[in-house]
Symmetry: C2
Subunit: 113 residues, 2 copies
């Protein structure tokens, strides 16, 4: 589905859920930024990882989950925002019964590396 | 209110509404990205403008409004996402009776210019 930026979209219409593992889709990519979606079926997880030189922003679009940090976990509810500065370990788990969809923005875009 | 990133936050708790003009607040800033909030009281507008060399992402946190484009307008509803590639004119108007809060992400951050 091609998006004619800057048209307003419902991110959920562009989600790519995958029974095998967390699904990814891309809304926009440039050298400056990657705007994507991470789609978690119940029980799926994106384990703890870090991005050198890239800041990340998560925005929970639908569902609830858990933010994984190096030293603990936080509840992640629909509508919440998370800023992950470069180099800081982070991950997401969907322990619930329903789906979890998260907007994931990386700056700069990985293609700039 | 200091945010200990990467703690999950409710962006609305960090909004800065201003009776005089659109209110701005900053959630995070680096050379790579600026994560801020644009808070519109009823009737307020951020008129058409563009950012050379910076991509922008809007995420509507609460309320409804109108996305201004060079050649028209689009409805902007709670939960919607907009990607504005660098150089593309854009703005936001809150024509409604209620407040409108929009997460506004710029990459790279203006401080990198």
């Amino acid at each position: 589905m091609v998006i004619e930026h800057p048209e307003p979209i419902r991110a959920a219409n562009h989600a790519s859920y995958n029974e095998e593992k967390m699904g990814k889709s891309t809304l926009f990519e440039s050298s400056r930024v990657l705007v994507g979606l991470n789609a978690f079926e119940a029980g799926q997880e994106h384990k703890l990882h870090a991005h050198a030189g890239m800041d990340k922003i998560y925005q929970v679009i639908e569902g609830n989950g858990v933010l994984l940090r190096e030293d603990g976990e936080d509840e992640l509810e629909e509508g919440m925002t998370v800023v992950v500065p470069e180099g800081v370990p982070h991950g997401i788990r969907n322990p619930g019964d329903g789906r979890l969809l998260v907007l994931a923005i990386l700056a700069p875009g990985p293609s700039a590396a």
